[in-house]
Amino acid sequence: MDLGLKSILGIALLSALMGCQDAPGTAVEFGDAERKQLGRLSPLGDVPPDPTNRFADDPNAARLGHWLFFDERLSLDGQVSCATCHVPTHAFSDPKSLAKGMGLGERHAPSLINVAYGRWFGWGGRADSLWMQALGPLENPLELGGHRDLIADLFHDDPDLKRAYETTFGPLPNESDVTASDEVFVNVGKSIAAFERLLVRGNSRFDQFAAALASNRSDGIEALSDSEQRGLHLFLTRANCTQCHLGPNFTDSEFHNTAAPPHPEGRRDDPGRFQGIAHVQGSEFKASGIYSDDRNGTTANRVQHLVKSSDSFGAFKTPSLRNLAGRAPFMHQGQFEDLDAVLHFYDTREGASVTSHHQEQILAPLRLSPSELSDLHAFLGSLEGAALDPSLLVPPAGPSLSD
């Protein structure tokens, strides 16, 4: 072997060794497979663009949306707003199990933190964009129960709203125009979506740990306690959680049937994704529709290619596991009061609903020890991101940035 080759080999060996080095001081060893998974879970990164909404990142639109999110005048009885169910101090979710607006709903109102990272919206994915999603509750008789004509009237009657609208979208369409209220309605959705894109909480203690481990720094490893590190290791390995809770927001944005037992007052035969597909494909507000700003884009194409099969019956969207604190109860009917109840269900599969035909074959009882369960619980607590700007939790001074 000549000298040149030897030195190449030497360098290769050295770099191989360095690459394998354990980060100092982890409570459990994180091997290559675990590290690879960690790289997919962290950091959260920027909110992905939404080309179907050209106002998605427009500050004027976000300000109007912020105002509308809290505006009860959009509802039929003037008493319900988005914030009625998506309570800002409750991680923009609902302390109640089943949502109650103008009437009692069939599902639990999920948290809106990091919602803009999703691919589908609603437990059954009834919408393919945030702005399309926002239009549902406005007219749903059990939620705000409003109507697009009345919403358009409101913009004509309130000079502040009219001014805010025109700053972003141009002249408010004439009411005699047949498409006027649809146009205003869609822009209301696009404004609210722009606001929702600001509800982001990343950079948790877990992210600090993952960054330290990725760069083999000891500085940052202490962001997770030993118990949290053990819980993380379980999460990635034996507990199988990353089969579905994967990617930077701890969700695959897809749908699974966990067969969680229904809430006593809840529906037993909710079709979940099965109905969600039919809804999104049939809607005039989908990404390929005339109100979309990207009718031939990825999202539009995806909707056309959805598989319609009975497999999706009773499947619900995988929720993010970031920022779980202060947003109980959990699951699509809020059937679990707290995190321990959720973990107990995954651990034992006790009460798994027998009416669902297509439960996931990968969900077998985990049978963890009590200390493993408490490690897992501890780890989930490390996913709390930096707090939101408090001004997002209350209505703004007015619908325009200049107010």
């Binding site: 690459g19 394998c20 690879k36 897809e254 990825t298 194409n301 995806r302 290619h305 598989v307």
Partner: protein
């Protein structure tokens, strides 16, 4: 062992390096051995939970392009161990000598089987390849 093979081995000792070459081609006989499915790995590593396209050629047993219309070719994928398929169904188009199927979406890690069905007259014959995403 050849020296450069040794270097490669050392570099991949941590298992961190992605093993597949971008130009890797997998050839697989169809189930009744009437045609050959030749799949090009693009992208080299199937992305987890992100849409991608799969490119392939269909050849007869002598290695010539199979005489089949694009309408008669369909593609699907399943996770046999999990008992489910993809959440999207891909369309197939033709680009020169290649067929391109998309969108494909492997939303979970684990073993995926990709099926290419070719219909000729009354007979549909399948060729399949498997990929494991970790």
């Amino acid at each position: 062992m050849k020296p450069h093979a040794l270097i490669l081995l050392l570099l991949s000792a941590c298992g961190g390096a992605e093993a597949l070459d971008a130009s890797a081609v997998v050839e697989q006989d169809s189930n009744a051995a009437n045609f050959v499915l030749s799949v090009r790995h693009t992208p080299a590593v199937m992305p987890l939970n992100a849409e991608f396209e799969v490119r392939f050629q269909l050849l007869d047993m002598e290695g010539r392009a199979l005489d089949v219309e694009v309408e008669d070719v369909s593609v699907d994928a399943d996770m046999p161990e999990h008992g489910h398929g993809m959440t999207v169904f891909p369309s197939v188009r033709r680009e020169g000598s290649e067929y391109v199927a998309g969108p494909m979406l492997f939303h979970m890690s684990g073993r995926w089987e990709v099926y290419v069905d070719v219909r000729r007259g009354a007979v549909t014959e399948r060729a399949q390849v498997a990929w494991t995403l970790d």
